[in-house]
């Protein structure tokens, strides 16, 4: 019989043996105030938030735009990435090299990142260049050339990146996992085909840009050390930008169902695992924060149960982790791990074992308190950097959360009960409805995977 490591979880602190010193008593926690900023809206609908933060003379200027891969139809996969790369290729008054040189003169670089629901254009510069950074960002967003002359080169970049990414077992696993969870939704289409990428014309890029980029979809964040007079610069730089289209959202109606997909990778010394399911929880729901705690306790922290089991007790893997992936009005939970090939079946069994254990019994009071403290500590760190603060404010904005969401977050974390954790696990993490993806050496792992084949 397999030994289970239940005893190891009973207490957060070691039983104090006679010859063992106890840790010194903790001091008194210091108060923490969530950073906040001033928000206003321009006539064209663009929102702006300014927040002073930081001792070092740096400022982060980031425009979040309410579109992403979720706005791509099935014949537009990565069209937004093509657009993102072309945005940096010059404006009506600046060449691409001028954009790069100007950004560098301020200490920064302009980057455009496409997300699932929200995308962003960011520049981080020395404080004294804040107004110039705002002007440069405005020019790039409002007057991009999207030049046909650069299309083939940029397309070549994306084709190369596609080939490089798909050579990794992690990307292969992510692709299949997403496609299985969301067969009819953009969230299920992580990668285009080559043929698809080759078909996009410059007009497709420009139409996609017109349909998705504009002032009323944009929220500009300026966080760091800067002269508040930048407000006038922002007004002048952005007030004439077209309002553009309103945000368009179409969240999936994903149904959790059991599935197992094995992707053969002959000779692989490890199996890359994805195990999880869609969970019908949005950030505005009461179960969202309890779900986050459940995840941290189960697999989302280093001392979590799954990590302790398959890494620290068994040595099957190096960096297992679970996460709640939050999307607009939907979420999914999954455990990810790269495990030694011969322990593929054993690893999956242990992950299911830990899920089952938490479904059956609530955590101890000490374990719950520990994970509450952990979440509170992470929250402080997340609110202690320019990009972190923008991330928090942007999360609240994207999900339409109440104004006091951040101010009451720690309070809500501390209100979660032991029974909540068990209930969340039982209600949402149903083993019989999970999708399992394994990328590995099929011939070597096939037999050990048989028990996990859905009936």
């Amino acid at each position: 019989m397999k030994t289970r490591f239940v005893a190891a979880f009973l207490t957060f602190f070691p039983l104090i043996a006679q010859d063992r010193e106890a840790p010194p008593p903790l001091g008194t926690p210091k108060p923490f105030a969530v950073p906040s900023g001033d928000t206003f809206t321009l006539k064209n609908g663009m929102k702006v938030t300014l927040a002073q933060y930081g001792a070092v003379p740096l400022v982060t200027v980031r425009a979040d735009i309410a579109f992403g891969h979720a706005n791509e139809s099935s014949d537009q996969v990565w069209l937004s990435d093509l657009m993102a790369q072309l945005i940096a290729e010059g404006t009506t008054t600046r060449t691409a090299q001028q954009v790069a040189n100007e950004a560098a003169r301020m200490g920064g670089q302009l980057s455009v990142d496409i997300g699932a629901d929200s995308s962003s254009a960011t520049i981080e510069v020395l404080s004294e260049f804040t107004p110039d950074a705002v002007k440069l960002l405005a020019d790039v967003l409002e007057h991009p050339l999207l030049p046909a002359s650069e299309l083939e080169r940029v397309r070549g970049n994306l084709l190369r990146q596609l080939a490089v990414q798909l050579a990794t077992p992690q990307a292969q696993a992510n692709r299949v996992f997403a496609a299985t969870l969301y067969p009819d939704h953009p969230y299920g289409r992580l990668f285009p085909t080559e043929d698809q990428l080759k078909r996009y014309a410059i007009d497709d890029v420009r139409k996609f840009s017109a349909a998705n980029v504009g002032a009323q979809r944009t929220h500009l964040y300026v966080v760091g050390r800067f002269d508040p007079a930048v407000e006038q610069t922002i007004q002048a730089a952005f007030e004439n930008w077209n309002s553009g289209p309103p945000a368009k959202r179409d969240p999936p109606n994903a149904v959790a169902k059991a599935a197992m997909v094995v992707v053969d990778r002959p000779g692989a010394v490890q199996s890359t695992l994805r195990l999880g399911l869609p969970v019908a929880i949005a950030p505005a729901d009461a179960d969202y924060i309890p779900m986050q705690l459940t995840n941290a306790l189960l697999g989302g922290s280093f001392t979590s149960r799954i990590t302790n089991n398959i890494r620290e007790q068994k040595g099957y893997t190096y960096s297992p982790f679970s996460q709640v992936v939050t999307r607009y009005h939907s979420s999914r939970w999954l455990e990810s791990a790269d495990v030694t090939t011969k322990f593929t079946g054993d690893s999956i069994r242990e992950i299911y074992f830990e899920i089952g254990r938490l479904r059956k019994d609530p955590p101890s009071a000490a374990e719950l308190k520990g994970i509450q403290n952990f979440m509170g500590g992470i929250f402080v760190l997340q609110n202690s950097s320019n990009q972190g603060i923008i991330g928090q404010l942007s999360f609240v904005d994207l999900h339409g959360l109440p104004e006091d969401y951040l101010k009451t977050y720690i309070q809500k974390v501390n209100a979660v009960s032991r029974a909540d954790i068990q209930r969340i696990t039982e209600s949402y993490l149903t083993p019989g409805k999970m999708t399992l993806v394994v990328v590995g050496d099929k011939a070597k792992i096939e037999d050990s995977l048989k028990p996990f084949q859905p009936k």
Partner: protein, 466 residues
Amino acid sequence: MPHIARLLPITAIGFSLASLAPAQPAASEFTVPVTYYKLSNGLKVALSRDTTAPVVLVAVYYNIGFRIEPKNRTGFAHLFEHLMFEGSKNLPKGEFDKLIEANGGLNNGSTRFDFTNYYEVVPSHVLEDMLWGEADRMKNLALNEENLKNQQGVVGNEVKVNVINQPYGGFPWLDMPQYANKNWYNAHNFYGDLADIEAATLKDAKDFSHTYYAPNNAALALVGDFDPEQARKWVEKYFGGIPASQLPPKPDLTEPRQQAEQRFTKTDKLASKPALAVAYHMPERGTPAHYAMVLLDQILLQGDDSLLTQQLVKKNGFTDSVDGGINLLGNQFNYNGPMLWIANLVHDSSVKPDQILASADSVLDSVRQKPVTQEQLNRALVKFRAHYYQDLTQFGGLGRADLMASLALFDDNPAAINTLENNLRAVTPELIQKTAQEYLRPTNRTILLVEAGAPPKDAAHSGGGQ
């Protein structure tokens, strides 16, 4: 090669040290407050207080990196790093991690060329426990066969996930030092052959611990919101009684001056596209030429405006990105021996490596043939400063602690952190040219080509858009 999840020292959670006070005129300079002293057992202590957020970063740096690990035990310095999380006298396996996370903190460790570090970022009121815990594992590491075997499994999996089962695994950060260097200390597989990792014994670990994990071979850095007087008392209380060790003489790490270009080819059966890297031996850290190379790196390689990016990405379309820099497992300052400046890229098979090299050479020749403009130099300095300030504030102040601890360990002078900017300002276009002529000469170069094995089934025949 960290303990938990990160391969390279990339920050998961950024962190800025500052105040929520009303806006003040933007300062264009930043001076790091540094208090430095030593305990009687030789432990170096560097404190930098910042009360912006109620958080403190504790970092213990040991002056032992993978470079000088035992010759028959490749990867041992890193395996030992893992063992430091496996329990000490008062904190059995897993309990230090729990003490940290269950009190709202995060921790990790990593092994680099010339140091191994352990760090925690925690709410301020947890500081004393962190000092107690770090002192406990410095003094009383508790090792056993079961935990050694467990971490041999974990580390084996780390090497597999990052190298063996990964396309471009080890390229170029693990590969290039092995090709470019001649001295074993700089040129061995520092992640470790799996056989060496498996062969490690408890006795190896105990010997290593007794030799290198001692206060006279370590630096402790604190950054954040703490009371300096109280912190000093705790440091003395918990670390003061740990005995110093007899340190062995440091081996000769010098590399011979390279006299001819070297070229190597590696086949990567998991890779889908060919790749190329070049490496040049760096001038000695802390010399004027070293500071010139720091700025040359900015001019040539860092950012969209850099000359190699403009040439190879924008003009030629050979690749989507030229990556690299000085010390791929750290930064320009946190090492203490021979170092490489590396540039690398992935390209299509329709382009031959020699075309790319010829194009890159036209850029490298240009900085050897004539001085860069003052404007280029100014831009390089501003880019450096912005990155440096970002680095100072990452992960609860880890970047700041890292530089202070490194400069304490290597130069006995953590306050030198405040001289870096001025040393860079002193670099002239003439020094840039002279440095490029000596260090960016073709005979100082190692070229590493990666030949892609079989392309993945559904990504075959991607042509690129030349």
